[in-house]
C-alpha cells in the first residue's frame, strides 16, 4: 500500500491542507520539511487519527487543545454555525485498487466539545466498482492493510527510535507483531482453524459413532492443551531469562568502574565498626595501665626497704639467733625436767648441754621470732611481685602498642576507602544496582533450570501427541463407518500438516533473514563498520548486537544514534523479509544522527525507496546538506510546510511544493 494524498481539514494546526505523494521518479521518496511547531508530529497524529482514531504522539493528551483548529472554530462561530467539522482523508492505492479512508468529527462551536466520530472506507477497484464501508467494517478493512497493533512499524517518531528495544517491548509483543507483518500469524490461524474443524466437526461426529475414536480425540485435546500451556510457560520463561540478562548487562554497565565501590563501602563501614571496638579496648587498656602503675608505685617504692628487711631477717635466721618454731619456755622446761616435753623421753646431759647452748644463743623471744618470719614472708612476696614489674610492663606496653598500631592501620585504610567512595555521588544507587544484578543472576540460574525441565516436558507431550495421532489414524482406518467424514478429516489433517510445516519453517527463516538483513543494513548505516560482528534475535525477537572483540551483547552500550539506526535497519529488514508492501512514515528521522551517518542514512533510504514508499518529515536544520544533496536529486516530492501565522496572523499551515 502507498499513500497517494492526505487531505486535512480543521485538524489542529491544519486548517486546510492537501499533501500529494505522487511518484514522479524511480524513488518513491517524499520529503516534508517544517520548522518546530508547524506540525510535523501532528501530521503523524493526523494519519493515526484518521486510520485508528487516536493520536499516540501527543506530548500530553490531558492538556492538549481541542482537536479542531481554533481559527476554524472561531470563524464557524462568527458565521453562526453550530459545529465545525474536522476531517482527514487518506487516499491510498494497493493492488490496482484505490482506497480512501475518511474520518470526521463535529466539534460544537459553543463549547468546543467533540461529537461522534464517523469513519468511512471507500474502495474502488480496477473496473471502477465502488464499495463504501462504514463503522466497524471500515475499521476491519484498515486493519487488513495496516494492522493497528503493528502500526509502530509503519509510522514512527525518529526521536523515539533509540527506545525501540527498551523494556516496554518486553514479552511477546514484538514476536506477535512480526508474525503479523510477515503473515506467519495468518498461517498459525489457518492451522488452528483447520485443527478445530477436524476435531470439533469431524472427529467428534465420527467419535459419536465409534467411542474408541472419541476417547482418543479427548486425549488428543488434552495433550494439545498441555502442549500449548507448556509453550506459553516456555515463552514467558525465555522472556524472563532475557530480561534478567538485560538487567545484568545494564547493571554491569552502571557499575562499570565502580565495581569495587560497594565492596569498598562495606569495608569502610566495617573499618568504622572495628575502630569503635578498638577504641573501647584502648580505654580498657588505659584502665589496666593505671591499675598497674598504682600497684607498682607501692611495690617499687618499698622495694629497697623490703629487700633490706628480708636480708636482715634472713641473716638472723642464718646466724641461728632466731628461736625455732618450738617455744623456748618448753625447751628450758625439758632441760629442767630431763624429759623432752614433746616426745616424753629422757634426755641425757649432752642433749641438755646442746639445748642450753642454743637457748643461750637466742636473741629474741619466740613471739618476736614468729612475727619476724611472718614479716619475712610478706616482704618476700612483695619483692617477688616487684621483680615482675619489667615483664609485666613489657607485656602491657606491647599489648597497648598492638592496639595503637591496629587503630592506626585501620584509620589509614578508612581514609583511603573514604577517598575512593567519595568519588561516587550515589553509593545507594550502586548498591541497588549490585543487589539487582545478584538477584537476577540467581533468578537466571533458577529459570535456566526450569527451562530445561519445561523443554523436556514439551518434548514428552510432543511425542505423546505423535503417538495419539498414529493411534487415531489406525482407529480411523479400522472404522468402516462414516467414510465421507473420514475423507474430510484426512484432507483437513493433511492441509493442517502442510500449513504447520510452512508456519514452522517460515518462523525460523523469517528470524534468520531478519537477523542477516538487519546486520547488513546496520553496517551500511553506521560509520563504525567493523565494530559489530552480528545480530541475534531470540525466539521472542529480542535483539542482541554482538561486538567484534568481546563477542558479547553490547546493545546497552550503543549510543542513542546507533540504537536509532539499528531500529531503522531492523524495521526496514522486517518490511523486506516479510514482503509487506506498506509504506514507512518517519518523523524527524535523523534527529540523533550525526553528519557521516546522515550520508549513509540517506544512501540506504534512497535504495529502499526504490521498492517502498517512504515519507519523511524533517526540520530545516535536520535536512542538512549531507542529506539534501543526496535526496533532492532523487525524491519524488519535496514539500515545505509553512505556517501563515506570520503573514496573516491566522493559524494555519500551507504546503508549498
Amino acid at each position: 500500500m502507498r499513500f497517494e494524498s492526505i487531505k486535512i481539514k480543521n485538524y489542529r494546526q491544519y486548517q486546510d491542507l492537501i499533501v500529494d505523494f505522487n511518484k514522479s521518479s524511480e524513488n518513491d521518496l517524499h520529503i516534508l520539511i517544517a520548522s518546530n511547531g508547524v506540525g510535523k508530529t501532528n501530521l503523524l497524529n493526523a494519519i493515526n487519527w484518521c486510520l485508528f482514531g487516536d493520536e499516540p504522539h501527543l506530548a500530553n493528551p490531558e492538556e492538549s487543545l481541542s482537536i479542531c483548529n481554533l481559527q476554524s472554530l472561531e470563524e464557524a462561530k462568527e458565521r453562526g454555525e453550530a459545529n465545525c467539522n474536522v476531517s482527514i482523508e487518506i487516499t491510498a492505492s494497493s493492488n490496482y485498487k484505490h482506497i480512501s479512508f475518511i474520518r470526521e468529527i463535529p466539534v460544537t462551536t459553543a463549547t468546543n466539545f467533540a461529537g461522534i466520530e464517523k469513519l468511512k472506507t471507500i474502495i474502488i477497484d480496477q473496473s471502477g466498482k465502488t464499495e463504501i464501508f462504514k463503522g466497524n467494517i471500515a475499521d476491519d478493512i484498515i486493519n487488513q492493510y495496516l494492522p493497528r497493533k503493528i502500526r509502530e512499524y509503519f509510522f514512527f517518531d525518529g526521536e523515539q527510535l533509540h527506545n525501540y528495544f527498551g523494556a516496554k517491548r518486553a514479552g511477546t509483543h514484538v514476536k506477535d507483531s512480526i508474525h503479523e507483518i510477515a503473515q506467519v500469524q495468518a498461517m498459525t490461524n489457518i492451522k488452528n482453524h483447520l485443527n478445530n474443524v477436524a476435531r470439533d466437526e469431524y472427529q467428534k461426529t465420527i467419535g459419536k459413532i465409534n467411542p474408541k475414536i472419541d476417547e482418543i480425540a479427548n486425549r488428543q485435546t488434552d495433550a494439545i492443551k498441555r502442549s500449548e500451556n507448556g509453550q506459553k510457560e516456555l515463552d514467558q520463561l525465555k522472556d524472563s531469562i532475557q530480561l534478567s540478562k538485560e538487567v545484568i548487562t545494564k547493571n554491569d554497565e552502571n557499575i562499570a568502574g565502580t565495581g569495587s565501590l560497594v565492596e569498598d563501602n562495606k569495608r569502610y563501614n566495617d573499618a568504622i565498626e572495628e575502630l569503635k571496638k578498638l577504641k573501647v579496648k584502648k580505654e580498657q587498656m588505659k584502665a589496666e595501665i593505671q591499675k598497674f602503675v598504682r600497684k607498682y608505685t607501692v611495690l617499687l617504692n618499698t622495694y629497697s626497704i623490703n629487700t633490706a628487711t628480708y636480708e636482715f631477717i634472713e641473716e638472723k635466721r642464718k646466724k641461728g639467733v632466731l628461736p625455732p618454731d618450738i617455744d623456748i619456755k618448753l625447751l628450758v622446761q625439758s632441760v629442767d625436767d630431763h624429759i623432752c616435753v614433746v616426745c616424753e623421753q629422757d634426755i641425757n646431759e649432752i642433749v641438755e648441754k646442746h639445748i642450753c647452748d642454743k637457748v643461750n644463743k637466742l636473741e629474741v623471744s619466740s613471739e618476736v621470732s614468729h612475727k619476724l618470719v611472718e614479716i619475712k614472708n610478706d616482704v618476700y612476696a612483695a619483692i617477688e611481685q616487684a621483680e615482675h614489674y619489667k615483664d609485666e610492663k613489657k607485656a602491657l606496653i606491647s599489648k597497648s602498642k598492638e592496639i595503637d598500631d591496629k587503630i592506626q592501620s585501620i584509620e589509614i585504610e578508612r581514609d583511603k576507602l573514604f577517598v575512593r567512595i567519595s568519588t561516587c555521588s550515589d553509593i545507594k544507587s550502586v548498591e541497588k544496582w549490585m543487589e539487582e544484578k545478584y538477584y537476577n543472576l540467581e533468578l537466571l540460574e533458577i529459570n535456566n533450570k526450569k527451562l530445561g525441565v519445561i523443554e523436556e516436558q514439551i518434548e514428552k507431550v510432543k511425542q505423546e501427541l505423535e503417538a495419539i495421532e498414529r493411534e487415531m489414524k489406525k482407529a480411523l482406518s479400522e472404522s468402516d463407518k462414516c467414510e465421507e467424514l473420514k475423507v474430510y478429516l484426512q484432507f483437513t489433517n493433511r492441509a493442517a500438516q502442510i500449513v504447520k510445516e510452512i508456519e514452522q519453517e517460515i518462523m525460523d527463516e523469517v528470524r534468520t533473514k531478519i537477523e542477516k538483513e538487519t546486520m547488513e543494513l546496520f553496517k551500511k548505516l553506521i560509520w563504525k563498520t567493523h565494530t559489530y560482528s552480528h545480530i541475534e534475535l531470540d525466539s521472542n525477537y529480542r535483539l542482541q548486537l554482538f561486538h567484534q572483540k568481546t563477542n558479547a551483547s553490547c546493545l546497552g552500550s550503543c549510543s542513542a544514534a546507533e540504537r536509532s539506526l539499528l531500529a531503522l535497519a531492523f524495521t526496514i529488514a522486517l518490511h523486506k523479509v516479510s514482503g509487506h508492501e506498506s509504506l514507512l512514515f518517519i518523523d524527524t528521522p535523523v534527529a540523533r544522527v550525526s553528519d557521516v551517518n546522515r550520508e549513509k542514512f540517506a544512501s540506504v533510504l534512497i535504495e529502499v525507496s526504490k521498492a517502498k514508499q517512504i515519507i519523511m518529515a524533517f526540520t530545516p536544520s535536520e535536512y542538512s546538506p549531507e542529506i539534501s544533496i543526496l535526496f533532492d536529486s532523487v525524491a519524488s516530492s519535496k514539500i515545505k510546510l509553512q505556517t501563515d501565522e506570520i503573514t496573516t496572523q491566522k493559524e494555519g499551515v500551507q504546503a508549498i511544493c
Binding site: I190, V487, F491, A495, V499, G579, H580
Partner: protein
Amino acid sequence: MIQNKLILDKLEEKTKNDPDMKKFIEVLMDKETEGGQFTKSYKQLIEKATKEVGK
C-alpha cells in the same frame, strides 16, 4: 491476501504434486487475511475442495 513471498514459495514447494491442495490452502490464505468468522466457511471449503479433488 498473502504478500510474503517466502510463504507462497513454501506452499508451492510443498504442494507441487497436489494442485488441489495448493488451491485450497490459497483460498484459506485469502480468507484468513480478510478477517471474519471462519469455522462455518472452513467446513464448506473443506467439503467443496474434497469433492473437487481429482475432478
